[in-house]
């Protein structure tokens, strides 16, 4: 195959380094030459990125291509990745002295360089979805992109099911109009439904998926420890000593955690253990960019022994010789776990080595399931998502900023974008109306409309100012307002404003691995000093909790359903399950176990109802609300509920008699709307939609005032709209996002269908072994922080284990 492809310079360079082409790389070139759009699905490592660039390189090497014409566009979800790929691609180009100009363009690129890139485009430009949107919104977009021959989208699976993906897809469709002959290549990690990813990339008949099998299955273990795995909690403090030993015995390791709070705590505890003075660093999204770059740099040069990281290090950057990945807590999804494991031994032909550290007993089951899923090649599904209308509003304004458009032509173009394929003309016109004047039935604002028809009956922006404002508001990522953390003159990073609002002067918190004392707020800087305090108040950042994937949830249910599966579990876990079986029951994969038992809280008799749904915290939370409402109506007097990933616990003053009525699937109809309208989530989603759609402006960095003061308070708008225009476009978007997100409506309705007639009710006289973690969680969540200490929980735990006869 290689002989027919004229790739000598690249081949020479590979040979020099004792490397060679992989088959999938050559196949990618062949298929592209035949005119296909190609989706390459391959595990991390193994030259996926090079494969993506090969067709473009082949064309540039063998065919004349004028200077100053953009030939290839590469899009990645991470700025850092564009920089990394740029560097990797320059190696063969410089080594073989190829006349190919490659540049990056992101939010970090200087305005001088950006201007030059517009005048004299490189052959290859590496950018992000947001920077692409900006380029396409400029009046010169047509000339800039009309010669484009190749478009490469990296880590495409991570973009498919998100608003960011919607924005990218709309712009892909736009590029298709400008450069119809351009060929597309998508690079994806392994996922279950490759067809959705391919459809997102291209809807041409000539499109194809090239699938690369994992060559060596990773070697994954669960941490073996003599210490008892905790019943509840998420910090895995019990395992720190064992984790430290593993770090000592590896060359370089990454410790992945799920939240920033975990990262801080684990990092802190590792340093307490650090007798050998290992070089251990921390990496998460809140830290100052320079500090993160420094850590990344030291990693790639092999100067560190270990890095504690959140998802900030998830995606495909080659960080050098990582030979061990430690995952603390369940990875919550198979795809994410594979991606993280892929960080170690970043080469196809060597197996990755990973160690899982469950932070509690249910997580232990999750970890076992994750490992067997990977062994059996079971993958997570990416749920398809309808394109969001707030993103569409942003895009329509962007198109108008670029050049005047005709309504029907634009509608046709938008329908070519995969997420918007089902869009109805009526909805489209509603969004257009919103872009024009806010979409209010009261027409007060017609005089202020942003776009309007010109003499040729085309829509265009009313003035240049609108384009400037669009440029500042582009993108779909809405972050909380952040404040800089300052220690003396040094900036350590950023924290959310609401977090600082919850602190009092003198409070201590962990940040960037230090214990800091909050002093005061000055000019939007959080002034801190170091402290010798050993017991910090830990930051509980938002957005760190990842939901348990449906696939993994099914695997956990399957794992526990058969006793024969338990023999591979450590004795403390299998004994727990065995006792549960004897004491109560263990549900089959399609069944729902419900337990009821009385128990005293603060010397008052309460009745507990526990549903082991295993459907994730969000779905359980919603279920908890709906069931409590119904219980209230039926006179059971519910007092409270707690939801975890695995189960829901409700306690009430009266004992529940009829479970089937509580769990019938019409429960969704009754109170769901009310539940939604009450959640703070709806307001948050409304705020995001208001910003993405351009109704209110983003906070511009450098402005001196706190977030709340500059930005028009979206809660006020929310209340007014709810009253006067309950079906306003943005309320529709906010409700939809809420149904999809935290409430996990889809999953809940599938669950209720599944369990119909499959409910096992166990009326017990006392707490069951499986319920112990939940009761502990209730105490963690509901008791005033000052009363809860580990001692109290320990006592409760001992008492309960005695009750059920466990040691």
């Amino acid at each position: 195959m290689l002989d027919k492809l004229k790739l000598e310079p690249i081949n020479n360079w590979l040979k020099k380094n004792n490397w060679h082409f992989y088959n999938h790389q050559l196949e990618t070139v062949t298929k592209t030459l035949q005119g296909y759009d190609v989706l390459l699905v391959a595990p991390t490592g193994g030259g996926k990125t090079l494969a993506g660039f090969l067709p473009a390189l082949e064309d540039l090497i063998n065919n004349q291509h004028p200077k100053n014409q953009l030939h290839t566009l590469y899009i990645s979800p991470l700025k850092a990745l564009t920089v990394d790929v740029h560097r990797n691609l320059l190696a063969p180009i410089q080594d073989q002295k190829l006349d190919i100009k490659v540049e990056t363009r992101t939010g970090d690129t200087s305005s001088y360089k950006k201007a030059r890139q517009k005048q004299a485009p490189p052959h290859m430009l590496m950018t992000t979805p947001e920077s692409l949107a900006l380029l396409l919104a400029s009046p010169e977009a047509n000339d800039y992109f009309k010669f484009l021959k190749f478009l490469i989208i990296d880590e495409i699976h991570s973009l498919v099911n998100s608003k960011r993906g919607d924005l990218l897809s709309l712009n892909l469709s736009r590029l298709e109009t400008i450069a119809p002959k351009c060929q597309k290549l998508g690079l994806s990690a392994t996922v279950k439904n490759k067809n959705s990813v391919l459809a997102f990339l291209s809807q041409k008949n000539k499109s194809i998926t090239i699938n690369v099998q994992e060559r060596s299955s990773p070697s994954i273990d669960i941490l073996k420890t003599d210490i008892r795995v905790p019943w509840s909690g998420h910090m895995a403090s019990y395992a720190i000593k064992d984790i430290y030993k593993k770090i000592i015995n590896s060359t370089m390791s990454i410790v992945f955690v799920n939240t920033r709070a975990q990262a801080e705590l684990v990092f802190n505890k590792l340093w307490h253990e650090n007798e050998k003075n290992l070089k251990i660093a921390i990496h998460h999204g809140s830290l100052e960019k320079e500090m993160r770059r420094k850590v990344e740099n030291m990693m790639s040069r092999g100067l560190l022994d270990c890095v504690v990281a959140t998802s900030s290090l998830d995606l495909g950057i080659d960080w050098g010789n990582i030979d061990l990945v430690i995952q603390i807590g369940s990875p919550k999804g198979i795809a994410r776990f594979l991606q993280r494991i892929g960080r170690s031994n970043h080469r196809l032909n060597e197996p990755s080595r990973a160690l899982l550290v469950p932070s509690n007993r249910f997580e232990y089951l999750e970890c076992v399931s994750a490992i067997s899923s990977i062994r059996e090649n079971i993958l997570d599904e990416i749920n398809d998502k309808e394109g969001s209308l707030d993103v569409l509003a942003q895009h329509i304004l962007g198109v108008a900023c670029s050049k005047p458009f005709e309504v029907n032509e634009l509608f046709t173009e938008i329908k070519n974008s995969w997420p918007y394929r089902n869009l109805q003309i009526k909805k489209f016109l509603e969004v257009l109306e919103f872009v024009k004047n806010g979409g209010y039935s009261l027409k007060n604002y017609d005089q202020y409309s942003k776009i309007g028809l010109n003499k040729e009956n085309l829509y265009t922006i009313k003035n240049k100012n609108i384009r400037n404002k669009y440029r500042l508001n582009v993108g779909t990522i809405v972050e909380s307002y952040m404040l800089k953390v300052k220690l003396g003159n040094r900036t350590l990073g950023q924290v959310e404003e609401w977090f600082i609002e919850g602190l009092n002067e003198g409070d201590t918190f962990l940040f960037g691995g230090r214990i800091l004392e909050y002093q005061y707020l000055s000019n939007n800087n959080v002034i801190v000093r170091t402290t010798k305090d050993q017991q910090p108040k830990i930051p509980s950042y938002a957005g760190g909790r990842l939901p348990l994937s449906s696939e993994l949830s099914f695997q956990v249910r399957s794992l526990i359903s058969k006793e024969e599966n338990w023999k591979n579990l450590p004795s403390q876990i299998s004994e727990w399950l065995r006792l549960q079986l004897k004491f109560s029951n263990i549900p089959g994969p399609e069944e729902l176990l419900v337990e009821t038992f009385p128990r005293n809280i603060k010397n008052k008799k309460r009745y507990f109802l526990i549903c082991y749904s295993f459907e994730g915290r969000n779905a359980n939370q919603t279920l908890g609300f709906l069931i409590s409402k119904r219980m209230q109506r039926m006179g059971y007097k519910p007092i409270g509920f707690v939801a975890t990933e695995y189960a829901l616990a409700i306690w009430s003053m009266n004992m529940v008699e009829d479970i089937n009525i509580l769990l019938s699937d019409d429960i969704m109809l009754d109170d769901l709307y009310e539940w939604l309208e009450e959640t703070p989530l709806l307001k948050k989603n409304f705020r995001d939609a208001a910003i993405i759609s351009g109704l209110i402006e983003r906070i511009i960095p450098g402005q001196k005032k706190t977030g709340k003061q500059i930005m028009f308070n979206s809660d006020l708008i929310f209340d007014v709209l709810k009253k006067h225009e309950p079906n306003h476009l943005l309320l529709q978007v906010a409700r939809q996002d809420s149904y999809r997100g935290l409430i996990d409506l889809d999953r809940l309705s599938k669950f209720l269908k599944r369990i119909k007639k499959n409910i096992i009710l166990k009326k017990l006289n006392q707490i069951s072994p499986l319920a112990i973690p939940l009761i502990l969680e209730i105490n963690r969540q509901t008791i005033d922080k000052s009363e809860v200490n580990e001692y109290f929980l320990q006592e409760l735990e001992e008492q309960m284990t005695k009750e059920v006869g466990l040691n």
């Binding site: 004047n437 806010g438 209010y440 009261l442 007060n444 604002y445 202020y448 942003k450 100012n465 609108i466 404002k469 609002e501 919850g502 009092n504 109704l695 209110i696 402006e697 709340k708 003061q709 028009f712 308070n713 006020l716 708008i717 007014v720 709209l721 009253k723 006067h724 225009e725 306003h728 005033d784 922080k785």
Partner: protein, 223 residues
């Protein structure tokens, strides 16, 4: 509704933020910021146009429930000098009805410092029984009722944070919460508002359901 004494006069604060001077049948309202919505719209942020209507409807409805003959607006009644030109016909009618029904005094604020309306008193300061009605609180040692700061307070209740508008009552002064639909707030712990609060101050917090009287000294969790 909560009653309290200020300089030996009986006052009442309503849930929506109107201060009533009972014996004089006067209602005192601050910071309506009428047409704030359209002011943003004219610069490209098309936030919903219902604010002025909503503000005036609420005000009229709540005034009608009480025996009132006179109104004192403590400034920033309009969001800017052009606001009245941008008002819709419907809003304009409501506004005219208001100034026809009651004896009205407008104090000018920083947002509407040129305010003048035919046949209506518009001034910087209005004094009645030794109480000065002004827009922004003054450090002078006078008995005063003002607005301007849009005070809000945050409290921790059962580890949840609640933030709501509030009225500030210190020895010689009252600072009213803002009344307008689209008005945000300044926390009472933040400068310069905190300089008007001392250990003997009381705040009246306007929560969703009722007005809470909270002496500053006794609020442990005041953020």
């Amino acid at each position: 509704m909560k009653s309290f004494k200020f300089k030996n006069h009986e006052f009442q604060i309503s849930l929506d933020g109107i201060l009533f001077w009972i014996e004089k049948k006067i209602a005192i309202i601050s910071d309506l910021h009428l047409e704030k919505g359209s002011s943003y719209a004219s610069t490209g942020q098309l936030i919903p146009p219902y604010d002025s209507l909503e503000t005036l409807n609420n005000l009229i409805k709540n005034l009608e429930k009480n025996k009132v003959s006179e109104l004192i607006f403590l400034g920033d009644t309009f969001h800017d000098d052009q606001a009245s030109e941008r008002m819709s016909h419907e809003t304009d009618l409501l506004f005219k009805r208001l100034i026809k029904t009651y004896k009205v005094i407008f104090i000018r604020g920083n947002h509407d410092n040129k305010l003048s309306i035919d046949g209506v008193i518009c001034c910087e300061k209005y004094v009645l029984d030794g109480i000065h009605f002004i827009h922004e609180a003054s450090k002078e040692n006078i008995n005063q009722v003002s607005g301007h700061f849009h005070p809000v307070a945050s409290l921790k209740v059962n580890s949840k944070k609640i933030t709501a508008k509030c009225l500030v009552h210190s020895e010689n002064l009252i600072i009213l919460p803002s009344y307008g639909q689209y008005t945000g707030g300044l926390n009472i712990t933040k400068s310069p508002l905190r300089e008007f609060i001392d250990v003997n101050s009381t705040i009246y917090l306007l929560s969703n359901k009722s007005v809470y009287k909270l002496p500053v000294s006794k609020i442990k969790n005041l953020l």
